[in-house]
Amino acid sequence: MKATLDALQRDAEGLGELRLMEVCGTHTVALFRTGVRDLLPSNVRLISGPGCPVCVTSQGYIDAAIEAAASGEVTLCTYGDMLRVPGQRGSLEALKARGARVVVCYSIRDALKYAQAHPKEQVMFLAVGFETTTPASALAVLEAARLGLERFTILSGHKLVMPAIEALLADPQADLHGFLLPGHVSVILGASPYRPLVDEHGLACVIAGFEPQQLIDGVARLVAQIKAGAPALENVYRAAVRPDGNPHARAITQQVFVAEDTEWRAMGVIPNSGLALRDEYAHFDAFKRFSLSLGADYDPPGCLCGQVIQGRVQPPQCPHFGKGCTLTQPIGPCMVSSEGTCAAWFKYARRA
């Protein structure tokens, strides 16, 4: 590790500020938690992109979910990460305290089990997440169909990573030198979807895992590519990421979901960046079952989460950070989510 760090230090020297983006919330947290950020050369800046699924979910989706739970019609099952995101009517956690049926799940399989055990309840699962999590939702829908779970639905907020990256790069102000590409999204996707980042945008690209050695390897390879002026698509997470990813998982997703235009927090509607249930599975679509529609997206007043997830603003630049907005009293989703950029800065790096 020392050798890699030394090489990284040498390579980075004299290159000016290097702006590298990670687009995976788990990377964001791991980079802080392991102390890797602390060991990088001072001119290497790691910028967190739209990689936290809770954070990129539009406020309209969150309000719709909270509305559904507040109606008393449904039992809402959710990953713990969504529990504390504030909406217009408070968070799911606050609703739960007032008696709404909100069940925290570790896996969507737990929601299926709950639906089986409570056949009279309408069980709605908040299906958020990127390509890593989507096949699980697809499998759960197939399983629900097989079991004839008439009252099970999912509220799909699933999103795709590449369309968001493309949308970021379409901004002429985007000034990035490379991407630390998400390890577990890539387990599903493989490497090839990222090719345009190298071929068309000329950016350095490395798929990395989450252990300190791979994080450092990832950054070191990015800097080496930049130094050599030879952007390429590399994979330093070979233990898990195959060149072709996991075709079984992709086929399952394909069977159940179809790409659609989707609104992202602060980034607007991005073409073909989200996943909706195919018509054959409309029965499991909570939007249709409960005639839910997405309200407008908005940032809470003064909140810069929308800028933070696009890497335009670092959390300490937000006037609320650490003052009005803390882990106990979060204003925006980037402070709420366990892998939100603001939460990571606040938890691991707030030294004042």
Partner: protein, 333 residues
């Protein structure tokens, strides 16, 4: 009759029967046996310490312990942290209508065993029954009285920069064991709660003049105690990740659930701050005790502004340690 009825709490014959047949025989000791309205203790020399704690854990039984064991450990350990020698505990039971009497007996048996292990008698008590709400349950409050030896003064204010921080064993075992039996999560594990009375472990340290401070890292975990230390002393504390006595099973279960073992609850560990001169002696004494086999010096108090708890990570980076926001819940992110 195999379940608790409202009448068991009514103060009549059924209450007497419940106590005489099911509870008292299990807890018998000379201070409790007279069954007066209050327990009478001889006046000890030294100052008196009083502490109280309530126990609402679900499920009632979990790997390595149960609510009865916790109810003794929690209160004994709170006295222990100040250096007090526990003299006795009160026991208030709040039983839910419909509770299986067999369950009650198991809890009292465990409580009695733990009290014996700690060498601390139950000296007074109370039993009430509340209406059936949802499921069967027991809530317990214990209050502990102890005596503080003359001259002993364990407070954060006595901590100095340069003092060393000891953790008496593997962190996170209790919280992970509880999670493993939580409804909806449930996983099979060889992990067991570390719940244990720590008065025996701490006793040989009390004579060391360099002993500054002890606290049991229960809810909030080790991180919570470190944050307390920083707030209460105005000093900084630096922990070495590589020095943490983590067992592979704790490490893996934590990874699996997305939890930081420093944030997860313990019921049988102490965080100790001690002057460097006495650290080796303290460590040797702790390791000689079965509950302290894996005791380790995990870090040091530092003079620094602003006051911070920091972790030197395994690869030599730094990050802040904060008190966790809420009870640790598994995450998939």
């Amino acid at each position: 009759m195999s379940q608790v009825l409202m009448a068991h709490g009514g103060g009549g014959e059924l209450t007497r029967q419940l106590l005489v047949e099911r509870v008292l025989p299990r807890l018998a000791n000379p201070l409790l046996n007279p069954l007066l309205d209050s327990a009478i203790l001889e006046r000890p020399s030294g100052r008196v310490c009083l502490t109280t704690d309530s126990f609402v854990v679900q499920p009632l039984f979990f790997p390595g312990g149960d609510i009865g064991r916790l109810a003794v450990c929690g209160t004994v350990n709170d006295l222990t942290c100040l250096g007090a020698r526990p003299l006795g505990l009160s026991l208030a039971l709040i039983l839910e209508e419909g509770l299986e009497l067999e369950t009650l007996e198991r809890v009292i048996d465990s409580l009695a065993r733990t009290a014996e292990e700690a060498g601390v008698p139950i000296i007074t008590g109370d039993t009430k029954v509340i209406e059936r709400q949802r499921g069967d349950g027991i809530l317990i409050n214990t209050t502990g009285i102890g005596v503080l030896p003359e001259g002993l003064d364990l407070r954060p204010a006595r901590i100095n920069a340069g003092d060393l921080v000891i953790l008496t064993g593997v962190p996170a075992e209790h919280g992970l064991a509880i999670l493993s039996v939580r409804e909806g999560l449930g996983f099979e594990t060889a992990l067991a709660s570390d719940a244990a009375p720590l008065n025996g472990l701490a006793a040989p340290l009390l004579a060391l003049p360099g002993l500054r401070f002890m606290r049991d890292p229960t809810r909030g975990g080790v991180a919570g105690v470190l944050a307390d230390l920083v707030e209460e002393t105005g000093l900084s504390v630096e922990i070495e990740e590589r020095a943490l006595p983590l067992s592979p099973i704790v490490r893996h279960a934590s990874e699996m659930l997305g939890l930081d073992p420093l944030n997860v609850a313990n019921e049988g560990k102490l965080v100790i701050v001690i002057a460097p001169a006495d650290a080796s002696t303290a460590l040797a004494r702790l390791r000689a005790h079965p509950l302290g086999r894996h005791a380790a010096i995990i870090g040091q108090i530092k003079p620094s502004t602003p006051p911070l708890a920091e972790l030197i990570t395994a690869i030599g980076g730094r990050r802040i340690i904060q008190r966790p926001m809420a009870e640790a819940t598994p995450r998939i992110c």
